[in-house]
Amino acid sequence: MAQVVAVTGNEAVANALRQVNPDVCAVYPITPQTEMMQRFANFVSNGNVKTELILVESEHSSMSACVGASAAGGRVVTATSSQGLALMYEILYIASGTRLPIIMPVVNRALSAPLNIHGDHSDAMGARDTGWIQLWSENAQEAYDNTIQAFRIAEHMDIRLPAMVCLDGFIISHSIERIEYLEDEEVKKFVGEFKPLNPLLDIGHPVSYGPLILTDYYMEYRKAQDEIASKVSGIVLKVAADFEKMSGRKYGLFETYRLDDAEIGLIILNSAAGTSKDVVDEFRDRGIKAGLLKPRLYRPFPFMETGEALKHLKAVCVLDRADAFGGSYGPVFLDIATSLYPYKEKPVLINKIYGLGGRDYLPEHAELVLSELAGIAKTGSVRSYKEYIGVRE
């Protein structure tokens, strides 16, 4: 029987981690992740989990210790935000290149400078090409569900890659929502026993991790990593199907909302998708065929499936809660544009940057964007391909 509770996003993810009961957790405090790990530390102090905590002196060391612990041969978690993720950057590549299934909730927060502790996606976007799987979450329920599924995906023997579960700082991490918890036993059964692969602790079979590979074979290893990435979406769908059987909640590579017959559409990650769906409904009520696509598996990005889902639209706006400086457009825009590139007939694409540093994303912002898209769909003329919205002029 599912238990219905009112909890913060941080609390929900901490509870998912308790239910999974990892062997080792190395972690360092940072706003807005801190509450999640405080809650998890409480589980440790009260014997609710078997987990050994490593309370490191920096995020660089938390990811470094996770690499050691994971290679040793057990289930490993950490969590971070913003500057902490940036400090881990070097070791993120080592975790994925070494094929270690470490799970890391990332409570999305802006990057400094200027210093800001509130929610935006700059942190995880900066780590989008590190070889980690990224699952993004609209609300506390999705963050909880994604966390549980992430273990099955990352630890799959065909993949063995680390995974981040992204949720919006404060907006989700610190807001109380109604969510449904699975039973402890159900989660335990769903994630299963951890299966070590070439563990360091198997002293009878000594292995060397982290070799030097020069011009002769480095490229072959990189190609192999790329080939593994291409298997991820299939596993994500299989795990989602199993999860649906257990929970009744359906997950895919992305969520489409009233998109099948839509003419205009929004692409938007995480919490702002909820606000946008309400406004899509209002436009539908007015007879305007609006829809929405919310990416879930953002890395590896399912280009083919996304392009296929969007190609019939007339005009699409990609809303980015991060900018890619010097890249002309926001990061999600670049991926959506790539996914549509192969099609002869494709929608007009525009890009809006919103909500940086925790700036509110309001229904009127979605309204303005959808109205603009309706105009583009009608006239084909575009006023501006990229602009910041909800910003002082």
Binding site: K50, S61, A72, Y209
Partner: protein, 312 residues
Amino acid sequence: MAKALTLKELSKKEVLISPGHRMCAGCGAPTVVKMVLLASDYPIIAANATGCLEVSTCISDYTAWKIPWIHNAFENAAATISGVETMYRSLKKQGKIDKEIKFIAFGGDGGTYDIGIQSLSGAMERGHDMLYICYDNEAYMNTGIQRSSATPYGADTTTRPAGSVVPGKTEQRKNLTKIMAAHNIPFAAQASPSHWSDLVKKVRKALDITGPKFMNIISPCNRGWRSRTDDSILLSRLAVETCFWPLYEIENGITKITVKPKEKKPVIDFLKPQGRFKHLFKPENEALLAGIQADIDREWERLQKEEACFAS
């Protein structure tokens, strides 16, 4: 307490770093690693900071390591082994593993004194059951002899070359062994491959102590020290005999000098055979040499007083 091993007994043990690795001829580091691994009666899992030792011992698809070994990055060998050790504790507690295993991290002076000191300090403070071994060759040798905070005063390096106005390194080296001892860990020591018996004894003692341990082992580099290929044991012995590298241990806060030179030799005996100090022997640098000797005398004096404090 593990009993002391004789040379005969050591010679019968399996060497756990195999020949065929690609360290330079005459390098001190593989000798140090060989002695450390021979010293242990326990199975060892090792972490290795990026550096000469790491790049030369595991070039895919070959490895010189006959024990489980992990290289992560340059500055995080201590954090990495702390993760391995914690997983061991977790699985042992859960009854999934029952063997007694010991954990060692190896790092050069760059990866230990400089870029890795935060990770090392954190791991020592957290109390992991691990031994960190710094093989100190006194500069960034892997990248080509750049100055580190372990480089001694006056040494010629590629980033602080001795020139017409700069006489090599103009700062003192950091006393990392003291810094580690200040973490109040149960065991911190200095060793030298020239004094194998002392080195082996210290490793055996360290591995029998539960908790974080640190050993700083001088490791001559003929490329960087500009010395003869076959002089690494000679130079590490001179480092000890001149008190440039005193052999001591601090066990539970009590300092003990483990090897006292019968006759303290002048530091120039250690400096002279090394090309990196050649410029110091020019007449105009006489004062610098005198300064180096004075620094060594002062530190040796201080160390003896420190030991005397605890003498019963």
